[in-house]
Amino acid sequence: MGGVATSYADTFVKQDSGGESRLDLMVEGIHCTNCIRTIEGGISKLPGVTQARVNFSTRRLHVAWADGDTTPTLIDQTLKDLGFEARPIDTDFDLSPDERESRRLLLALAVAGFAAANVMLLSVAVWAGVEMMPATRDLLHWVSAIIALPAVVFSGRVFFVSAWKALRGGRLNMDVPISLAVILASLLSIFEVRAGGDHTYFDAAVMLLFFLLIGRYLDFQMRHRARSAANELLSLQRMAAQVIGLDGSISHIPSSDVRAGDRLLVAQGERVPVDGNLETEAAEFDLSLLTGETTPARVGAGERVFGATINLSSPIIVRASASSEHSTLSEIIRMMETAEQSRARYVRLADRAASIYAPAVHILAASTFLGWWLFTGVGWVFAATNAIAVLIITCPCALGLAVPVVQVVAAGRLFRHGIFAKSADGLERLAEIDYVVFDKTGTLTKGVPKLARDGVSKDVLARAATLARSSSHPLSKALADAAGPGPAADGVIEVPGNGLEARTPRGVMRLGNAKWCGGKTSDQPGLELCYQDQEGRCTRFAFEDELRRDAALVVEDLARMGFPVELLSGDREVAVAAVARKVGISVYQSSCKPGDKIARLEALKAQGHKVLMVGDGLNDAPSLAAAHASLSPSTAADISQAAADFVFQGEGLSAVPYSIRTATMARRLVLQNFSLALAYNVIAIPLAVAGFVTPLIAALAMSGSSIVVTLNALRLNLARWRAS
C-alpha cells in the first residue's frame, strides 16, 4: 500500500557523519497522551532505531536510526498499522526560523524579567530609604545600571530592530516610541548616575521591556501557529507518483515532475497524482476532495480522471494529460491564494490603534521637551526628564499586552472546547461577521455514508458483510460497520467497475452495482449496493449521508443571534433541497463549482455583508479563504483546514455559535481595554507633562495599568454561555 509516499520519503532522509539516518514526519491523528506512547513505543521497536520522539505541539515525529536497518517504508507502514497517517517533511535546518525567533523572544523575556525584578528591588530600597546616605544611593544606582544596561541591549533589540526597519521605510510603528523611551531613559539615567542625581529610570526602562515582551511573545505564538498550519498546505502538493517506463519498470518521482503523456500506476486507495485519462478498465473514484460529494463516481475506460481523487478499485493506469502545475488541484490552490491575498489586507485592531497612537505620543513628548526648555528655563536635563516621563507613561502597555492577552485567553477557551484558532486576526474578523454560509456534505452532514436500515434482514446483511469486509470502498465499509464484527469470505475478488465477487462451493456471491447483481437500477445509483446471493436473489442496500446531530439546532441558534444562514453545495439539487428543508435553511444553491461559491461570496460582500463560511471539502478551500472568516471541521481536507481560520473537532456543529460568541466577547474586552488605557492616559499624561512623574509614580502607573488590562482580559474565562 503506502509504497508511493514512502519511496518518495527516501529523499527526505538525512544522514549524519556518524552513519545515522534521520527522518522527520508530520503525523496526522495525534490527539491524546496515549498516541505519544503508541507511536514512540511502536517505532522504537523497529530494528536499529535509536531515537523516536513525538513533538506534540507541532504534531511531528523525529526518528533516528543506525543506517541500513530500518527504511522509511517500514516506518511509514508501522505508523499506518498503528493507525496514523504520516507525511515526510523537509528539515534542512535543525530549527525553523520561527522556532529560532520564538526562542530568542523567550530568552529576551527572561533577561528582561530578571533585570526588572532585581532593579526594582534596588529601586524600592532607594524610594523607601528616606535616611539613606547619598553614597549608598549612588552605589545602588550603579548596581542598577550594571544590571539594566546589558538587559536593555539584549532584550530591547527586538524593538530596536523593528523600529529601525520602520523608520528606514519612512513609517512609524509602535516600536518607535517604545525604543525611544527605553533608549532615552537609559541614556538619561546614566547621565544622572554620573552626576550623582536623585532619580534614575532604569527600573522603568526594563519593566517596560518586560511587560511589552510578554505581549510580544504571546502574539508571536498565535501567529506562529497560523504559519505552521499554512506550511502543511504545501506538503499536500508534494505527493509522489509511480511512473511506468517504456520497458515496464516502475519508478517513483515527485508528482510535480510528472509530464503530460506519462503513464502512471495508481494503486487502490491512493490519490491520482495529476489529471489524466484512464487507460485501464472502468474504475470508481472518491471525488469528495474535489466536489464534496460522498457518492463514489464511476469513470469509464479512456475517460477523464482528476488529480487528488482517490482510486477505490483495483490498481489502474492513468495517462497524464497535464503536468502537476496545470492540474485541478493546483488550480484550486491558486484560486485560494488569490482569495487569501485580499484577506491579508485586513488591518488588525491593535495596528489601527497604533497608527493613531504612535504619532500622538511623539508630538506630545516633543512638545513637552520644547515647552519646558523654551518657556521655563529649567535647563535641558529637567525638560528631557519630563519628555521621557511622557514617553514611558504613554507607552502602549494596553496595546502591547492587553490585546495579545485577550486573544490568548480566547484561543485557550476555544481550544478547551475543541476549536483550534489558527490566527489572531481570525478572531477579530469572526467578531465582525453578519452572515453565515454553510457547505452541505461533511459540514451540515457527517459526510460518511450510513446504511439506511429499514427493510434489511439481519441475516442477509451478515452475509453481504462477509464480502464487504475485504474492500475499502466507502459503501462496503458502511455496510461492514452496520453488520458489526464478523468473518470475511474467502477468495473475494474485485471486478473493476462492478463490485466484489466470491466463488463458493454453493455458487457465486456478488456485492456491487445493481445491473451487475441482477437488480433494478434506481434513481440514485451512487448511494446503493446490491447483494446477490448464491441462489441469484438480489437485495438492495440504500445508504444516506446523515445530518450532524445538532445541525438544525445550530441553524436556529444562529438565526436567533440575527445572522441570515445560507447553504452552498456542489451536490445535486434534490439532495441539497432535502438537507436545507431538514435543517431549516431557506436560501440555498446547488451544483456549485468552487468558482460559483466564490462568486456568491463576492456578491454578498458587494451587498456589504461580512460572511462566515463553514465548509470542509477541497472545493470549499477557495471560498474558505475568500470569506471574511471561516471555520472547518477537523475531518476536512488538509487544504481546507489550512485555509480556514478555525478548525473544530467533534460530531456537533455547536462550535460555530460558540466561536462567534467567544470572538464577540473577546472583541468587547479588547475595546474595554482600550478605554481603560485611554482613561489611564487622560489622568497620567497631564501629570507627566507637568513634571510630577517621578520614577516611583511611573513604576506604579505602568504595572498598575498592565495588571488592570490583564485582569480584565481574564474575565473572558468567567463568561458563561450555553454551547447550544
Binding site: G41, S57, L106, F114, V143, I147
Partner: protein, 54 residues
C-alpha cells in the same frame, strides 16, 4: 551598610544562576513542546514493557 557589599552580589549571583539555568533549558529544546511535556508526565513508563495495548 557594608553588608550590602556581600548581600547584593550574593543575591545577583543566585538570580544569575537561575537565569543561566533558563538559558540552558531553552537552548536544549526543553520549551519546544510544552503541550507534549505536560502530557508526558501522565504516561506510566513502567507499563511500556507490557506492550502498547496494556
Amino acid at each position: 551598610m557594608t553588608i550590602l557589599v556581600i548581600l547584593i552580589p550574593a543575591a545577583l549571583f543566585l538570580g544569575l544562576v537561575g537565569l543561566l539555568g533558563f538559558f540552558w533549558a531553552v537552548r536544549t529544546g526543553q520549551f519546544d513542546d510544552p503541550e507534549g511535556n505536560a502530557r508526558r508526565i501522565l504516561l506510566d513508563d513502567d507499563l511500556d514493557e507490557m506492550g502498547p495495548d496494556n
